[in-house]
């Protein structure tokens, strides 16, 4: 456990050194927040209560999702490119040789990265949004606590999906095509483009059951108090935990298949 905490701290520090990149990211998230906020205002003025949100809640959705974007690596920028590169160069053999579990190692490193992104890239856009628009942020500390638990579970689900993608490098020599597809899917199905509650009919129910919903839509709804009561909260967090377990399990299976495939060249 101490080992993985050290790995996580390393992940945090590593991203903390990119000061300019973080500032540039904060700027980007804020600019996008403004643009999307104006389109949502136009949309919710036309249709008040769309997707079960009033206008302030819709605006909260915009700004909090900008704050979670980098932490959840929803537009890429996580570790999967790194795994793919290490498989391509053969450095993955070193990782397999370590007295640590490969999946846990990368999970710890990615959680450290996410923790930094949450603080470094999350707070400023949210403050900017709260100053410029009327947001519906809760005052109940318990709600915020539940939100943080939900965000953490969402980050684990996001990790588990990207770990599967990273391992695909053992079979596909070049991961850029897969990564691009993954980005497209995660932006659309997480609720980043439009809250999933706005998606109509059966298609809407389908997208709300997919793992990407656990990355953004569920934490957002927990924050906005859409899962009221102990039962509602348990259902929301249970949905996330369920996907986390299934996907981490799939990652373990794929990992053991992949390590059997490794051929280490001496020299």
């Amino acid at each position: 456990m101490r080992l993985y905490l050290a790995v996580a701290a390393g992940g945090f520090r590593r991203y903390a050194t990119y000061g300019t990149a973080t500032a540039a990211g904060v700027f980007t998230n804020t600019v996008f927040g403004f643009i999307v906020a104006y389109t949502y205002i136009a949309l919710w003025e036309e249709r008040p209560g769309l997707g079960g949100y009033d206008q302030a809640q819709a605006l909260t959705f915009v700004w909090v999702s900008q704050s979670l974007l980098a932490a959840g690596a929803l537009i890429g920028g996580g570790f999967q490119e790194e795994i793919q590169e290490r498989v391509r160069t053969g450095d993955i053999a070193v990782d397999l040789y370590r007295p640590a579990d490969l999946q846990m190692w990368w999970l710890a490193a990615d959680m450290g990265r996410a923790a930094f992104q949450l603080l470094g890239r999350g707070l400023v856009p949210l403050v900017a949004g709260a100053l410029a628009f009327p947001l519906a942020l809760p005052v109940d500390p318990l709600r915020w606590l539940l939100f943080l638990v939900s965000v953490t579970l969402g980050l684990v689900v996001s990790f588990a999906v990207r770990y599967l993608l990273g391992l695909l490098a053992f079979w596909l020599m070049d991961g850029s095509g897969i990564n691009m597809m993954a980005t497209v899917v995660s932006i659309f199905f997480s609720g980043m483009l439009l809250p999933l509650t706005v998606f109509p009919g059966g298609f809407g129910e389908f997208v709300r059951a997919l793992p990407w919903a656990a990355m953004l839509q569920v934490p957002m709804d927990v924050l906005l108090g859409k899962h009221a009561g102990a039962g509602g909260a348990a259902r929301a967090l249970g949905f996330q935990a369920g996907w986390a377990l299934v996907l981490l399990g799939a990652g373990r299976l794929l990992q053991s298949a992949a390590t059997r495939k490794v051929v280490v060249q001496g020299g």
Binding site: A24, T28, I35, A42, L43, M173, M180, V184, L193
Partner: protein, 291 residues
């Protein structure tokens, strides 16, 4: 011996300045073409991945547009604009950004190259640095976005009931090309900024990708100050808003006269001047990170 050297030095400027500049442009284009050809060959090594990336690239814009389509399953107009009208905005700016991204998009990698020192190798090669940076990792898959944009634009033009005149017909292709040139100039300026700020590729993205996200929607939904900013400061409004409003026969929310719709090529040229000056200043100020 010394006299001979002096003679050569003096002889060099005998070639007219304009001709030398043209020579450099030709040299730059040739170098650009060679590097692009190399990257295309390298991409084609992994054909499955290439096919997936072209498809993925086209799908990005498709899902973007699907989100707008879903919005319109709940409303009839957004900011007073119908879905085909927004499709015109969406398609034109997507095609422009796609073209600029295809030709110049990798200039944003310069921050990484400054950090890891690999820009040094580019400086000693006999090809202008901008041509090398622009062609760096040239990604043919970006044709996917151009195709998607043109597809949506085609659907919009087919569906819309436009009162066509010769000027309006001419304005559509001009809007795409000038829009691409404006985005490309922003990309060059962004790359120049990275000499100053280090790895700040995302700032560039907020003007290009962020700008395009904004230009997909009608200008009527944004605050007036924002509109002034993207008209007079970073003139993104000339990418598609002003020409498209003219084609649609709608007034500009800032009250600009109709003929400004035709200014996009001039504006593109005007933004390239400061961008290229900034780029030259950036390259001159470059200090290698060392070994």
């Amino acid at each position: 011996m010394a006299a001979a050297v002096t003679a050569t030095v003096v002889a060099a400027p005998a070639v007219p300045a304009a001709e030398r500049r043209r020579g450099r442009v030709r040299e730059g284009l040739r170098g650009y073409g060679l590097i692009v050809a190399m990257w295309i060959r390298s991409t084609m090594t992994y054909r499955t991945s290439f096919a997936l990336s072209v498809f993925g690239n086209a799908t990005i814009t498709f899902l973007d547009f699907l989100a707008i389509y879903i919005m319109f399953s709940h409303v009839d107009v957004l900011g007073g604009f119908t879905l085909p009208e927004i499709a015109l905005l969406y398609g034109s700016c997507s095609a422009s950004l796609g073209l600029a991204d295809l030709l110049m998009g990798n200039t944003d990698r310069i921050g990484v190259r400054i950090r890891d020192g690999s820009l040094d190798t580019m400086l000693v090669r006999p090809v202008p640095v901008l041509a090398q940076v622009a062609a760096d990792r040239f990604a043919l898959r970006r044709l996917g976005r151009v195709g998607q944009g043109l597809g949506v634009l085609g659907w919009a033009l087919w569906t819309l009931d436009v009162d066509w005149t010769a000027g309006k017909v001419l304005l559509v292709p001009v809007m795409i090309v000038a829009g691409a040139a404006i985005f490309a100039a922003v990309m060059v300026a962004g790359a120049a900024f990275q000499f100053l700020a280090g790895d700040a590729a995302e700032v560039q993205n907020s003007f290009t990708y962020g700008g395009c996200t904004m230009l997909q929607y009608p200008p009527t939904i944004f605050a007036k100050d924002l509109l002034r900013g993207v008209t007079f400061v970073v003139p993104l409004a000339f990418v598609n808003w002003l020409p498209a409003l003219y084609v649609l026969g709608r007034p500009d929310p800032l009250g600009l006269p109709g003929w400004v719709a035709y200014l996009s090529p001039l504006v593109a040229f005007a933004v390239f001047l400061p961008a290229s000056l900034a780029w030259r200043a950036g390259v001159r100020s470059y200090r290698s990170t060392g070994s």
